[in-house]
Symmetry: D2
Subunit: 406 residues, 4 copies
């Protein structure tokens, strides 16, 4: 353990990573650089600076990564209509590669030889941090205290904190939040405690970002979203930066009770796990993006994307954002989005996101002169369908013939 | 056209197929057998018998196919969590192969040499009927009047009806329903007229099976669904036959404003088309089936199913139910469902289907002793994750090394 | 038929397309532009000019497309290691989109409103020509004489030729070649006649480009192929243009009895068909490209390519080269080839292409310090494998536990 | 290490596993059961019994698993035309799950609580053994000495052997074979030493099972292979058991220089590795199986299999034979083989396997009346192709129209 000189710690300022900070100083006898990122988790970051200073940290990074997070991670992912296991919008997964990238960048800037994080040994996040880090710097050392130390129970952790003068808030002494949570501009997640019984309903007071559909307004609200190259660029005609747009959608979705999800998912490390998620803005965007694609994407291109989406989602869930296969697949996805331009109207009402209209001045492949049930003035020859069907049926007719002979 | 002796017509009793009936008798000079199926479309079938008799039809088939429809078509499809283009529950598509099968069976029983249907030359249904029929009988002749005759406008059709003494109801004279509709136990669909502008919102009075979320009850309703081998078998503890169960879910879903869908889809014959659908029971089942699978299916099996689902959905959408590739894929899907046993609790509220719990006494792979955030007494060794990550990262570290050298 | 003013005919100068030329003039009463392409089929093209002149054709195009063919069609296809149904190297399929493109370009240059080709109504080529043409010009008219006229037997065709003063060579009067053939720089194909019995061996004197392995030299020949961005650029150190390189490989492969293939394939129009192919250069390139990829491509990128290859092959086989889905997939394929640089050594001997070595100075991911069976000085920690295996096994152990309890 | 009571060791009788046997007795102080399997590796097994006895082993298993190996592992795999990374026939991979299964069965029979094997920490085989074992018995303990001990160099191993009275043959003292080898009825493999430079050609005297093409007979040999349900059942009309048939094909293939392969593959544990393989019988079977499928499988079923094959191959390569996803995929594969009946004729000549004919009395979908280039008496209507093409082109024409308008 003696060969680490300087380590960059992903530091939230909370109890766990404060204990880690101290533990790294004690056990590894190395200098610690702290890195705290604003990715929209909705917490003050300056206290993290103060705490780090108290531990004698000299190099303190506090970065506002909200725009980069949404522009370079969330939006590219949404271009693929990405959901993991049919439902999960990957809110935690998509934030990790950005953190991994900054950890490595800061390590290079500060000439640190190691990074460290507070993810446990049972979860997906350790994998996402570390696969990302190794992909970006093959020589980086990684310290994952939860896999190394013996502070595996909350009691031991608290004891260590008190012994080392780490401030423990009252809530921790009282057991802390009953949930393990993670938040960023895309979502907030809940795991653990009461949720560990998948048969039991989540408690209403767990949810933090959305009102319940029951408490949402009785009036629906309509919203126009404009798309350019597959990314949303304005709401109700007002151009917004990526992170502003997502924040506004979170506000609107939260108000209307949109984006709660309760599921059992399969972790990359092998076990099933129950999680609850609030993804208000993302839930709106998923619906809206499919809608704008429905008129601007060719059928077979759309189907190709649909066929590849679960694989792409698994890459992100499993932590392979920085892998060559994810980058390769992204080139395909991005290529398809050139024509995804236009607008979508959605209605928000008590948990529902209802698409009510979509149009594209420049790229609509919806051709009403052909689709019409009315007379189409010869745009489509009904007789063509006969030949179409007969040739498509030919192989099956030959097979039926053979069965007949048997 | 002279070589058809007897034709089995898929006969609804409505105006269009009545005109077809007469037209077949006149143009093909052949005997017509009518076949009318109850697949839960919610219309009286006896009037079809009376009308057929008036046309001198001697062989009249009126079949209640509701149970077979749900048991052998709808439920097998739901085992795959099937949606076309991310959203459409395939309500029309899944009914066509059953009709095709009965048409061929009746043709064999009555020694008819042809079948006929009222699907137009622009739609998917002609393909579904005919691919099905050819797959089951390679020598069958198929008459698709809409691709043959010149009655392509509504005026000509009405004129033909009046000239031939076919009763035309007042609604038809007044322009009929503004929509082209199709209904069965799984759904009701709307196309045409106002919907041909994909930018325009569907009118509220179009929807027939569901109340709007706004008008749904203010009280949520909980529902327990029990699964055996991947199929739902009881509601709130009450065992129901497949079609009874789906009908009851339609009632509940309709009451709570569940299952409306408005989308632009890609037809197999090549154009985009806007459709609106109400699938109240199916929407509940899709959510519930994913939930019971989430605890009873192995991760990789679930992902294999997810990867293949869009392809399976396209097979059904495009009319390949009776193809060898669909049957082949079904063997895989059905094999996976042996362990899909247990129950799911859903909450129905104003358009929302919210999964609140799921459990399986016999087949749950959710292992709380391993998933727990608490101490797991050694069930899982955190250190294993280090090796797991390092080997998964190895190929990317080698690549990063190479980039470094450049 | 009266509304065609000018038609561009894909004209080989042979009997069939000469009859078509005359037939178009007679039946459509329109001006004909002839287009004859050199894509390496190994025939003189000037006679086509003379014949066209005799028919009074005023606009005669004779183009050398060999370089474009190999550079923009063959090589991009080989980047994906493309084979249809496990074996067929798509020699005919890949030439059609180029012909379609030139037909449309010439139609635009000459202000023609239609194109015509000599492909029959049973084959894949009509589909490839026409899908290509429609994709490039939605308004083009297409005349496919074999689907229109009544000259469906060879006797009628010859009679028509003689009546119209079209020169018929002695070989045609004697029944012509027993095979339907197609040739270009990538391959020569044989179909029909003796081959219509898939149980019967092809006759030795059918093959034209390759000697039999038995007659090939007793001495093996080694060949170094250099790759840049996935394309071969030199042979034995000598830089060659794409079409020169392929021609040279054909010579070498033909000399060593390489590239014969005898198979039954599934046509897009629905029937099975037996074909024999000689693809000497392509057979060498397929092996060599896989070899250079084996050391320069990441594992998961290579697997992604392998998973998508059959779909890509079907796109080309079915005539969708100019479709948006093929273009989309090509962006992915081309992206992966940036690192495919280096050389491959193959040994050619009596029908065998044997890879004996491969290396890349710049992009090899083969790391002998890690792969070695010898001591690796700690480059790889054997213990990591334990954790890797345990986490990968976890879901199966949980399942085994459950089975135990039952 | 004290908690193992009895361990079943996969024991070859060679130096490495003899050292392991002794090491297990010394270090784990536990009883050792030896298991030696005949899977066609071509070595005497009785010496292994003698050696085991000398070490005081009381429970010695020596099993002839050749028939089971070919019938239940090799043949099912060949039903999918399985190759890993386009070329490797998975000879080593497919033997491991059988060994894993027997290790667990013997553990249960002898009430052993652990198993052990001699696979190294860098290779795929440890993964295959252990994933298999854990899947079959979630509580089994696994001892992988190569990941535990410090005998990582050949010198240390020899020293340990001599210190412990383990007989060391002269060849080991002289450095042993320059290659790491593995053999069974499907193949023999070579890795290591000279092969660790992928640019260098394998030495001719490395190959053991096949003559070089140069030394193969100058006369070709024809061979008829009969298939039932996708498996070969007779050669030249003589019915043979699975393992007899494969052995005979190995003899024939070896004689004709068939089945050598030299490649760089991607290991599951993350690095690239160069391997050489001889798979004479398997190489013949791969060609022949594709040929019988070419006339008996529906096109779309064949394409579905082709699309899934690389995934299936990875499952086997990576050690997931006993996983639920492999079993699931096998149900699909096996379902498709019901119609794969008939015979294939292949010509063997100096490294070439040339299919010259194929037929199926009962299941051929090759319909010469439709495929013919001659007059087909109306079996196929050429005009159908026009409609087929037009509808397939429709979406691309609409897109071209849109581009025109821009």
């Amino acid at each position: 353990m003696s060969d680490v000189k300087k380590v960059v710690l992903a530091y939230s300022g909370g109890l766990d990573t404060s204990v880690i900070l101290k533990w790294l100083q004690d056990v590894y006898q190395c200098e610690v650089v702290t890195f705290t990122a604003d990715i929209g988790q909705g917490e003050e970051l300056e206290p993290a600076r103060e705490k780090a200073k108290k531990f004698g940290v000299k190099e303190i990074y506090i970065d506002d990564l909200r725009e980069e997070f949404v522009r370079d991670f969330v939006f590219p992912m949404f271009r693929a209509n990405t959901v993991y296991e049919g439902e999960y919008l990957l809110g935690t997964s998509i934030a990790r590669p950005l953190i991994a990238k900054r950890l490595i960048e800061i390590a290079h800037e500060t000439k640190a030889d190691a990074i460290s994080h507070g993810a446990t040994g049972k979860g997906n996040d350790q994998v996402r941090f570390e696969l990302g880090a190794y992909s970006l710097d093959s020589n980086i050392k990684i310290i994952a205290p939860w896999r190394e130390w013996d502070l595996l129970s909350r009691e031991k952790l608290l004891a260590y904190a008190e012994q080392n003068g780490i401030p423990v808030e009252m809530k921790h002494k009282q057991g802390g939040s009953p949930y393990s949570m993670d938040a960023n501009l895309l979502h907030i997640s809940y795991e653990g405690r009461h949720l560990e019984d998948p048969a039991a309903e989540a408690e209403e007071d767990m949810w933090r970002w959305t009102v319940s559909p029951e408490k949402a307004p009785d009036e629906a609200e309509y919203l126009d979203i404009e798309y350019r190259n597959g990314d949303p660029i304005s709401l109700n005609g007002k151009a917004l930066k990526p992170h502003e747009l997502l924040a506004e959608l979170n506000r609107l979705g939260g108000k209307h009770g949109i984006g709660r999800l309760d599921l059992v998912e399969n972790r990359y490390v092998g076990m099933k796990s129950r999680g609850c998620y609030e993804t208000p803005g993302g839930t709106i965007l998923l619906k809206a993006h499919r809608a704008i694609e429905s008129i601007t994407l060719d059928r077979e291109v759309a189907h190709l994307k649909d066929d590849l989406m679960p694989r792409y989602a698994s890459m992100i869930y499993n932590g392979y954002w920085w892998s060559p296969e994810r980058v390769t697949l992204q080139t395909l996805i991005d290529h398809t989005q050139k024509t995804v331009n236009g607008w979508v109207r959605v209605k928000l009402y008590k948990g529902n996101v209802i698409v009510t209209g979509r149009d594209s001045k420049t790229d609509s492949l919806f051709d009403s002169t052909i689709a019409t049930f009315e007379d189409d003035a010869g745009a489509y020859d009904h007789c063509d369908a006969g030949g179409f069907i007969k040739l498509n049926a030919l192989r099956m007719r030959i097979a039926a013939n053979l069965r007949n002979k048997k």
